[in-house]
Amino acid sequence: MTTLALSLTINGATHEVVVPPHRTLLDVLRNELGLTGTKENCLEAECGVCTVLLDGVAVNACIVLAAQCRGREVTTIEGLAAGGELHPLQRAFIDRGAVQCGYCIPGVILAAKAYLDEVAAPSADEVREALAGNLCRCTGYQKIVEAILSVTETR
């Protein structure tokens, strides 16, 4: 089988992997690099649990090929707490009760981060719009939205 040698920058560190060209970023993150904070579910970009940041933009890792990430910066949930200090979004999700089963949460937090990096002071409706690609079945989204808005209020 044809393979590609890829050099990937993930959470600031360089990783060398040799994989078949059709392997997705999600597959490489979870199964080659052990970064299972990026979750797996529908594999067709419907549920959003695999959301990661590619050059700061939220993407569904299940439909991005690993080969497309050469020379770009990938950020996963494991890379968000800089130096062991929780990101304000992570802190807010804990404090506001926004986490239940938690399986969607890494993707939701990264989608929220990408959005807040673009829009500093969104309304609740705008936050909901920004999260429309991330399904959550536990929370009804309410405390997630409240947690995200609380971060915009405090900065």
């Binding site: 979870r30 199964n31 970064l35 299972t36 904070g37 990026t38 979750k39 797996e40 579910n41 529908c42 594999l43 067709e44 419907e46 549920c47 649990v49 996963t76 949930i77 494991e78 968000l80 707490a81 929780l86 992570q90 999700f93 804990i94 404090d95 506001r96 009760g97 986490v99 239940q100 089963c101 938690g102 399986y103 969607c104 949460i105 890494p106 937090i109 609740a124 409706d125 936050v127 909901r128 719009e129 999260l131 429309a132 690609g133 991330n134 399904l135 959550c136 079945r137 536990c138 929370t139 009804g140 989204y141 309410q142 405390k143 997630i144 939205v145």
Partner: protein, 758 residues
């Protein structure tokens, strides 16, 4: 916060949140072992067929394939909860589209997929029974010709395609109808809907050289899976160890064996660890989605709005196997009565075999289906009598000390308070604030499932506490609640408690994360363990301090004597470890039986509601007259939770339960055509997103239960019950159109409006 408590009753952050927000929390779907194989399942594309041939010779030769299994390779056993009618692989006959025919394990997922393609299957299609009406038609073929030979709970009333008929009979409905001034007869239907957990069902199995299998799975019921696997694998339960690493949502869909048996059987054949994980297509075609239902209600009422009699029948499509059906049909009869005083009742619930997937339990199983019918009809009755729907309910609801439908005496009934509070909050007096805009209300009751729970609690040498429970944390924060109870009683902080959970080898038995019971039952087991530990701690401290036990107090991680001298929990734990084997207690709890009148029930698996909860929902919405599209403006819930152990996470249960309920009300349906699912993907199966769910206002009503820890009642399932009825009633209020089938899509509304137009 309740006066006198330090830890319970406070909105403390859940203990497992840091791992979940940083991506370090491990879920079953993340679990992997070195050298693990990947298993996949071949499923039937025919709903009903004779198996002519399954040839796996080519599949076995595909590169990387290490095991291939069909019915011929596994023990010929039938298993199941109330009726043992299930089999691992279809043997001679296929009974639903999606039924497993074979499974393979290979070194890569691609290899496993290629092997499935290489299996040659020849099926001879047979006429399929596609719904309940066909299954019950005179002369209908039997889904299971051998039904009478199956092992089943003796209490069930089974007959051919009916795998249980549960019944409640109270008084004399004919006399009750004779006393009525008006009689209302209606029919309602609801489709199948999926739990929609974001983590697929997943299991990894590994056998050791002693013949023990360990299965890491995201089951809600590790001890039931242990028993079921023991039956399927034909080995003693002690040889099966089930561990739950973590669960990404369950809602009842992860109660029964799903992929664990495939992983265990493939691993046994391959001699290597095997992981099996479902796809979205498998979830929507071959999982335990909610049973479709047909409900017929005949209700008699006086001119003043007093309910005199109800005849209610509910038919569940249980699919090709009984599964949860017989039990859910039983619970349904209690839900058909509603939280109302009705002196004459004839209520029946049936679980009916068809050629579809084995439908199962979904958060408050039977609740939304029965409540949609009951509460829709209450509004129809109110309108016909010229009564306010709230007033009609207030004239008929149950109160403290009154009887439930099977004669149980109701205690801690907060229903009137719930109804009045949601009505106030939604400004009920102004029910139709604008054209096309209206408000709806619905109420109900639900059980706190009983069953037993055990915990081991020990004090660590640093004075912290380990809570060892057989219950799994499925996301509700129930184990944080139980830990709050423990910390409260032991005089420590929540951060001092470490939780170990859900390992059938090492943790004590637990009936499982189901039926709104975990915080309730594990919390009570914690209270029992704490009481025992406290006795041990005080006895040891009395010896250390040379004081009378009665003069000692356990608080702030220490035992303190009247004169202020103290010995810390840490010291006591170390002393006990050196001299007495350590401070450890086994706390247990089993819900006391709820007395009921056995003469009123037949075929009934669940004749009374333990520590019932009561709730009311109110919604304000508008309907677009052209498109039929519904926009929800406000949604208010008042729920009697007994005692709010952790208000934040109770609100979380309410908000999430309502969101799921709104999906069932407005958009979700697994669509079948000729026995095949048309929308087996998350594009076409429409679950609510953040833009579809309104802000939900929660009002926590607290009428303490006599049984629950600090008065708590089950809270997880109830919020999922009333949304469809509340929405249907608000739509009727807004535009005068009554939709009697779920989901209430824009298309149905628009069509109904067109028919209504002059």
């Amino acid at each position: 916060m309740t006066p006198g408590t330090r830890i319970v009753g406070r909105s403390l952050p859940r203990m497992d949140a840091p791992g979940k927000v940083t991506g370090t929390a491990l879920y079953a779907a993340d679990f992997a072992l070195p050298g693990m194989l990947h298993g996949k399942v071949l499923r039937s594309c025919e709903p009903h067929a004779r198996i002519v041939r399954i040839d796996t010779a080519r599949a076995a030769k595909v590169g990387g394939v290490r095991a291939v299994l069909t019915a011929a390779d596994v023990p010929d056993v039938r298993y199941g909860g109330s009726v043992k009618d299930e089999e691992v692989f279809a043997r001679d006959r296929v009974r639903f589209a999606g039924q497993p025919l074979a499974a393979v394990a290979a070194t890569s997922p691609e290899g496993a997929a290629a092997a499935l393609e290489a299996i040659e299957v020849v099926l001879e299609p047979l006429p399929a029974i596609l719904d309940v009406a066909a299954a019950l038609a005179p002369g209908a073929a039997l889904v299971h010709e051998g039904w009478a030979s199956y092992t089943a709970l003796p209490i069930l009333h089974r007959d051919g395609n009916v795998c249980n008929r549960a019944r409640i009979v109270v008084g004399d409905v004919e006399r009750g109808f004779a006393e009525a001034d008006r009689i209302f007869e209606h029919r309602f239907t609801t489709p199948s809907v999926h739990q929609g957990y974001t983590e697929p069902r997943a299991a990894v199995a590994q056998w050791d050289s002693s013949g023990q299998v360990t299965v890491w799975s995201n089951t809600q019921l590790p001890f039931e899976i242990q028993t079921t696997l023991s039956e399927i694998l034909q080995i003693p339960p002690s040889r099966v160890r089930v561990i739950v690493p973590g669960i990404g949502g369950g809602f009842g869909g992860k109660l029964r064996v799903g992929v664990e048996h495939f992983a265990a059987l493939l691993a046994r054949r391959a001699g290597r660890a095997v992981k099996v994980m479902t796809t979205s297509e498998e979830e929507l075609t071959a999982a335990y989605a909610r049973q479709p239902a047909i409900v017929e209600l005949k209700t008699g009422v006086t001119r003043e709005g007093r309910l005199t009699a109800r005849e209610g029948r509910l038919w569940f499509d249980t699919g090709a196997f009984a599964g949860s059906g017989p039990g859910v049909a039983s619970v349904a009869t209690l839900m058909l009565a509603g939280p109302y005083r009705i002196p004459n009742l004839l209520l029946e619930g049936r679980a009916v075999y068809t050629h579809k997937t084995n439908f199962g339990s979904f958060r408050a199983p039977s609740g939304p289906q029965a409540n949609f019918a009951v509460e829709s009809q209450m509004d129809i009755i109110a309108d016909a009598l010229g009564l306010d729907p709230l007033e009609l309910r207030l004239r008929n609801i149950v109160h403290e000390g009154e009887e439930g439908p099977t004669g149980q005496v109701l205690a801690a009934v907060g229903l009137e308070e719930c109804l009045r509070k949601v009505a106030d909050a939604i400004d009920w007096k102004n029910r139709r604030p604008a054209p096309g805009r209206g408000k709806g209300i619905a109420c109900g009751w639900w059980t706190t499932t009983g069953g037993s729970s055990g915990v081991y609690v020990k004090v660590n040498p640093d004075g912290t506490v380990a809570l060892n429970t057989g219950a799994a944390e499925i996301g509700t924060a129930a184990l944080t609640g139980a830990a709050q109870v423990l910390a409260e009683d032991l005089g420590v902080e929540l951060a001092d408690v470490n939780v170990v959970s859900a390992d059938t080898l090492s943790t004590p038995f637990d009936f499982g994360a189901q039926g709104s019971r975990t915080a309730f039952a594990v919390g009570n087991a914690c209270r029992a363990a704490a009481a025992d530990l406290k006795r041990q701690i005080l006895a040891l401290a009395a010896r250390q301090l040379g004081a009378e036990e009665s003069a000692l107090e356990l608080r702030e991680r220490a035992v303190v004597a009247a004169d202020g001298t103290r010995v810390t929990l840490a010291e006591l734990a170390r002393i006990s470890q050196a001299t007495g084997g350590g401070l450890i207690a086994h706390g247990t709890f089993v819900a006391p039986p709820t007395p009921y009148d056995a003469k009123r029930v037949e075929g009934h698996v669940y004749p009374a509601f333990h520590s019932p909860s009561f709730h009311a929902h109110a919604v304000e919405l508008s309907v677009d007259a052209d498109t039929g599209e519904v926009t929800i403006h406000r949604y208010v819930v008042a729920q009697d939770v007994g005692f709010a152990m952790n208000p934040t996470y109770i609100e979380g249960q309410i908000e999430g339960g309502v969101a799921q309920g709104l999906g069932q009300a407005l958009s979700e349906e697994i669509v079948y055509d000729e026995g095949r699912v048309l929308n087996a993907n998350l594009t076409d199966y429409k679950m609510p997103t953040a833009v579809d769910v309104p802000r939900i206002e929660s009002i926590l009503v607290q009428h303490p239960s006599l049984v629950g820890p600090f008065g708590a009642k089950g809270v997880g399932e109830p919020p999922n019950i009333e949304p469809p009825a509340a929405v249907a009633n608000a739509v009727a209020s807004a535009i005068g159109v009554r939709i009697s089938s779920l989901p209430i899509t824009a298309e149905k509304i628009a069509l109904a409006l067109r028919e209504q137009a002059p």
